[in-house]
């Protein structure tokens, strides 16, 4: 294993279209889960970072993909760490009830991609990866749990990938 492979982290973006506003009683059970589930993420093995709005506890008020679309942007050490948190923690209960709160997406709503360790992806970069997945299907640039690529595969296919570009 090369140093560049070891130094890769997995970035994750998912978008969810709210059926009702966050302050609507019908969305209240979801809002109540935000604190505990985000705390569980912060303490989960392999967790690196999650997007949080300045001065807020989470990113739900940022609406870069549409007024009724909330985004969740995180970085993890490995796909297994992200998978275990997503589907094998208190987060699964929120996933189970997703149809009560969110519209069904016809297009991909979750995208994964590799970043150099230490790089914190911007929302713009994340939305580009989602657009790439939607336009071109899974590739080493943008993939899903079911169509996963290793960091080594991504590095092979992305010889011009900028390393740890400074955030604007």
């Amino acid at each position: 294993m090369t140093a560049s492979v070891r130094a890769a982290h997995l970035a994750q973006l998912n978008v969810a279209t709210l059926l009702h506003p966050l302050d609507d009683p019908r969305t209240a059970p979801f809002v109540e889960m935000l604190g505990p589930v985000n705390a569980a993420a912060d303490g989960a093995p392999g967790f690196v970072w999650r997007l949080v709005e300045d001065g807020a506890a989470d990113a739900t008020a940022l609406r870069p993909a549409g007024d009724d679309v909330i985004v969740n942007l995180t970085v993890w050490e490995t796909p297994a760490a992200l998978w275990d948190f997503t589907y094998r923690s208190g987060h699964l209960e929120a996933m189970r009830r997703r149809r009560e709160w969110f519209a069904r997406h016809v297009e991909a709503h979750l995208v994964l991609w590799w970043v150099p360790a230490g790089h914190l992806p911007t929302v713009g970069e994340a939305l580009e990866r989602l657009a790439d997945l939607r336009a071109n299907g899974p590739s080493p640039r943008a993939f899903t749990f079911a169509s996963s690529y290793t960091a080594a595969e991504a590095a092979q296919h992305l010889p011009t990938e900028p390393q740890a570009q400074p955030t604007p």
């Binding site: 275990d84 589907y87 094998r88 699964l92 189970r96 997703r98 069904r104």
Partner: protein, 235 residues
């Protein structure tokens, strides 16, 4: 190793007892312990445990069971756990797994979670076969064992309940956890859909107006549901 050969290895009754004992522990088991549990000599147990490893039903490793290390700690002991691979034989050949995966994929894409959970709840109620809800955790364990969930009791000591209240002193309530997910292959591919189905099935099986409650409490490597008796601090 073909599945049929692996399964055929369990025809020997001693081997089968050893296999079932190791599987039920959910941890590494040494030769002495397995021999004692199966009521056979250590050398015979070792022979059968190695045979089970050879056919791929168990995996073996070595550990120092004494907790000591360095010179004088003795040789590491051989330990056994259940192999992760699934084994199945169907005669005539059937392929329900592909059917399940395709149906799950279609249900996921169409967002049919609510309809699937309603069907699962009805099935659970039908499987219960009685109008009365499940009467307690022991009965629940039997029902789960019969359906292949490999249930075990876990003390909830030191764990606060959902409302943050302290668990009553003098007898920490236990919860039933399950080592095996009967829907593993499809649950791994479509977790929210299939785990939700599993929860609804168990809620139907136990009833929701009795003393026993099934709820989601996922953790790595186990079934995503726990079964508890919310009032058992009244014992």
């Amino acid at each position: 190793m073909e599945d049929i050969d692996a399964i055929a290895a369990l025809q020997d009754p001693v081997r089968r007892r050893l296999y079932e004992y190791v599987v039920a522990q959910g941890r590494e088991v040494g030769r002495n312990e397995a021999a004692k549990a199966a009521g056979v000599a250590r050398t015979l147990a070792a022979h059968h445990l190695d045979k089970l490893t050879e056919v791929g039903l168990l995996e073996s490793g070595s550990r120092r069971l004494t907790g000591r290390s360095g010179p004088g700690a003795g040789r590491p002991a051989k330990v056994y756990t259940r192999a992760r691979a699934e084994r199945a034989v169907s005669l005539p050949a059937r392929d329900y797994r592909t059917a399940a995966e395709l149906l799950a994929e279609a249900a996921e894409q169409a967002g049919l979670d609510a309809g699937l959970c309603a069907a699962a709840r009805r099935r659970g109620e039908a499987l219960r076969g009685s109008a009365a809800p499940c009467g307690g955790l022991e009965e629940a364990m039997e029902m789960l064992a019969a359906r292949g969930y490999a249930p075990h009791l876990e003390s909830a000591a030191g764990i606060q309940d959902a409302e943050g209240a302290e668990v009553a002193a003098g007898g920490a309530p236990a919860v039933v956890r399950m080592r095996n997910c009967p829907f593993h292959a499809v649950a791994e591919r479509f977790p929210p859909l299939v785990c939700g189905m599993n929860l609804a099935l168990l809620q139907g099986l136990f009833g929701t107006d009795g003393p026993v409650r099934a709820r989601m409490d996922a953790r790595p490597g186990e079934c995503c549901v726990v079964v508890e008796n919310p009032k058992n601090n009244l014992h």
